[in-house]
């Protein structure tokens, strides 16, 4: 039985050149079995399509949705500015999260019990409470601390400091740091101990070993979940609505409530969220590919390389040979 299966060429077109491909003397006979009919799949596909059609129809023909308003406001300058702020706060909060997260991860793995407990405590607090609540706490900090006093360096009224922007940044960034810390720690721990030993045996310092040897390898583990974190951040940033930072959701909602197009403006917001998350997903693909260097014998071609290869009629080899 197994014999027969082995002889079936993995070629989609078995009639073509079967002899030379398998190298046998007798051309293997292509299987002439009647395939199993998957009636269940057909039925479920029809059901799903029908439901989808109903749903689309419901929205498309709903008299109360003014679809032209959606088109009208997509490129509205207020909306664009809001989308810009969403991107800005997400990027800044993410940078803050990554930098703090790396520091926390290293602290958490430190042999010093004080350092590692502090990191543990931070992560416990910030992961254990809702980010929505954290945002509100930062925003309302002036209720309990009237001034921010950093000794001789800085002193100001808290309400001056804790602008909507600052509250949004601290709320999102500090929360993200706790998640990034765990991601980074997992990445650092995934690197084989032999790597550190080899580097130390060559006379490299702890810092150099971390920077040159461990972190680049940890990146392969860290980058994919970090990309997902950023995509989540783009969406979670809509929560800063509550601290009155004028990002995409707030910008669209304001228009929505004044122009009586609430639903339409929410659709506009969705369009921009989708655009941002989709564009970043493509970017992430290339980033992950870059950090896969050395872990795969041959990097898979990028979609763009595939297109180019097809146009030139030949693939460009990468990584092989000197």
């Amino acid at each position: 039985m197994t014999d027969k299966f082995d002889k079936v060429p993995a070629d989609p077109d078995p009639s073509a050149d079967a002899v030379s491909k398998t190298g046998g003397d007798i051309p293997p006979e292509a299987m002439k079995a009647i395939p199993v009919r998957h009636y269940g799949r057909w039925i479920s596909a029809v059901v799903v399509l029908a439901l989808l059609a109903l749903l689309i129809n419901a929205f498309a023909t709903a008299k109360k949705i003014q679809w032209n308003a959606v088109g009208e406001y997509v490129f509205d300058s207020t909306v664009l500015a809001g989308a810009g702020r969403t991107l800005l706060i997400s990027v800044l909060a993410m940078i803050m999260g990554v930098v703090l997260g790396v520091i926390l991860a290293v602290m958490r793995m430190s042999k010093n019990p004080v350092t590692s407990s502090v990191a543990w405590f931070y992560i416990w607090i910030f992961r254990g409470t809702p980010v929505y609540v954290q945002l509100l706490i930062w925003f309302n900090l002036a209720l309990v601390f009237e001034t921010l006093n950093l000794g001789p360096i800085y002193k100001d009224e808290m309400v001056q400091v804790m602008t909507p922007f600052m509250a949004a940044l601290l709320g999102l960034g500090l929360n993200e740091a706790a998640y990034m810390a765990e991601i980074c720690r997992a990445g650092l721990m995934a690197v084989d101990e032999g790597q550190t030993e080899a580097a130390h045996a060559l006379g490299m310092s702890h810092g150099k070993t971390l920077r040159r040897i461990v972190i680049p390898q940890a990146m392969r583990v860290i980058v994919p979940p970090t990309g997902n974190e950023f995509i989540n951040m783009l969406k979670t940033s809509s929560l800063v609505y509550v601290v009155t930072y004028n990002e995409l959701l707030r910008a669209t909602s304001t228009i929505g409530s004044t122009s009586y197009a609430v639903m339409e403006m929410l659709f506009v917001a969705c369009i921009w969220y989708l655009v941002m998350t989709s564009v970043f997903s493509v970017f992430q693909y290339y980033l992950e590919r870059r950090y896969a260097r050395g872990s795969l014998r041959q990097l898979p071609p990028t979609p763009w390389q595939k297109v180019k290869a097809n146009m030139l009629g030949m693939g460009r080899e990468r990584g092989a040979g000197a």
Binding site: E197, H200, L202, G203, M204, H206, Q217, G294, R297, A320
Partner: protein, 253 residues
């Protein structure tokens, strides 16, 4: 001749488990010193003590006359700072059983890494030297390959080149051929033989008795954390005096 490595009553324990129970030995400059013994006898641990990857609990360990990992002032012993330990390690090359090449760097970059990062050699010079070394281990044409694109034997030869790039005065080998397919062992041993002929001082933990007999200048048989028997490899291997040595050799030969 001066001793390149001198161990006096070296003890090492992990928690309550005593792994090295007083090792005394001397490795002369320029010799190939083979270390054999059953699994778990403490061979790797002793090798790792020589470049201070493990801290010893008692005894003294000298490399080229210098105390490893400590400084003695009067009758007081001071631990060396990390940077000082790193300085000592520069002169001691180590080759691991599982190669431990840096997977995110090409063969050439692996060999260049330490000279550039540790010694501050300029890149062009380090590259030229790395090419020479890869050529010496027979891998000139694999310079651009990542470790995942090399066979085990090729990876181990790159690892040897990587260690040599620091111009060490002592090379430590921890079962360099144990993780290799049998047909790849020969290439690695050839490189080690060349290295021995060039006068390098080598401490080699190995199960390759043929190599020990042909290339080795001295041989030590370890068991249970102590040196059981030592002497000329040809003597010890053909005419072992101790019962434990005899029992071990009858199993591996």
């Amino acid at each position: 001749m001066t001793a390149m490595v001198k161990a006096e009553g070296v003890h090492k324990s992990f928690g309550a488990v005593q792994v090295l129970k007083g090792i005394d030995l001397e490795v002369q400059t320029g010799e190939v010193f083979c270390l054999i013994g059953p699994s778990g006898s403490g061979k790797s641990t002793f090798l790792r003590c020589i470049n201070h990857l493990e801290k010893i609990n008692a005894g003294r360990l000298y490399v080229d006359g210098e105390l490893v990992g400590y400084r003695q002032k009067g009758d007081k012993l001071y631990e060396l700072k990390d940077s000082e330990v790193a300085l000592q390690r520069r002169d001691i090359g180590m080759v691991f059983q599982r190669f431990n090449l840096f997977p995110h760097m090409t063969a050439l970059e692996n060999v260049m890494e330490a000279p550039v990062q540790v010694k501050g050699t300029n890149k062009a010079q380090a590259k030229e030297r790395a090419r020479e070394l890869l050529d010496r281990v027979g891998l000139a044409d694999k310079a651009g390959n990542y470790p995942s694109q090399l066979s085990g034997g090729q990876q181990q030869r790159v690892a040897i080149a990587r260690a040599l790039a620091m111009d060490p005065k002592l090379m430590l080998f921890d079962e360099p051929t144990s993780a290799l397919d049998p047909e790849l062992v020969g290439d690695v041993l050839d490189v080690m033989r060349d290295l021995a002929e060039s006068g390098m001082t080598m401490v080699v933990v190995t199960h390759e008795m043929g190599f020990a007999r042909e290339v080795g200048d001295s041989l030590v048989f370890m068991d249970g954390g102590v040196v059981v028997e030592s002497g000329d490899p040809r003597e010890v291997l053909t005419n072992p005096q101790h019962e434990r040595t005899q029992a071990f050799l009858s199993k591996v030969l």
